[in-house]
Symmetry: C2
DNA sequence: GCGAACTGCAACTGAAAGGTTGCGCTTAAC
DNA sequence: GTTAAGCGCAACCTTTCAGTTGCAGTTCGC
């Protein structure tokens, strides 16, 4: 939670349409589970569980406001994940280029 | 498959430890399902299904070599996803900064 | 203080997903 | 031509997960 979650855990949290919809709303405006349930076609309890999943990977943060608990979306884990994926993807592409060069060399020696 | 898969679909494919392990191996060297099964503690059929999932989101590409079918990891969908996540995360952070500024203004008018 | 709104916990259901075993088909090797 | 290696398909099992309903505990408003 405080430390950034692993890429696989983050991807797991992001592998659900309802959670993306929740994050989209929270990205615009902090909302509570009840308020989200009014806007989405699922029950408050389902939303609360999704918020728990998102909170465990640090994508969301609760803040008490009076008697209700509003959540906001945090971009830091997302940008961190973006950097990791960028590096991995580029490494694969470089390896592919090397393989292509070898194949080219073998075809036209 | 040819068009880049949606972020949620990509994250779904990346939300599994075995698939990450497969991708890690394929990032180093093209391998077939049978060859991967020799290196990982799961059956060839399980690997084949994982490869199917990865292929559907464009993270992997098959190439026939003789009578075997070797797969290689493709970095392009990953870098594309990285850019999307980067943008979304930055948008959330900007919104958070705005909210903090408003709160600050309200605290010290 | 009382009631209403908000949250949290627990049990249940249905569907999806990872994994296995078994079988049949193709294809290279000898 | 026969054989063995490699791949694909289908059925089955088990676990996980999204979603629901129901109920108990809190906290603000009047």
């Amino acid at each position: 939670m405080t430390a950034v979650a692993s890429p696989v855990a983050l991807c797991g949290a992001l592998a659900d349409d309802t959670r993306w919809e929740i994050l989209r709303r929270l990205g615009e405006q902090p909302l509570s589970a009840s308020e989200l349930a009014q806007r989405l076609p699922v029950t408050r309890q389902a939303i609360a569980r999704h918020l728990g999943v998102l909170h465990e990977v640090g994508l969301v943060e609760p803040a008490k406001e009076g008697r209700q608990l509003r959540y906001r979306a945090l971009g830091q884990p997302l940008t961190q994940l973006a950097r990791d994926l960028e590096n991995i993807g580029q490494a694969w592409e470089q390896r592919l280029d090397r393989l292509r060069a070898i194949a080219e060399e073998r075809a036209h020696p």
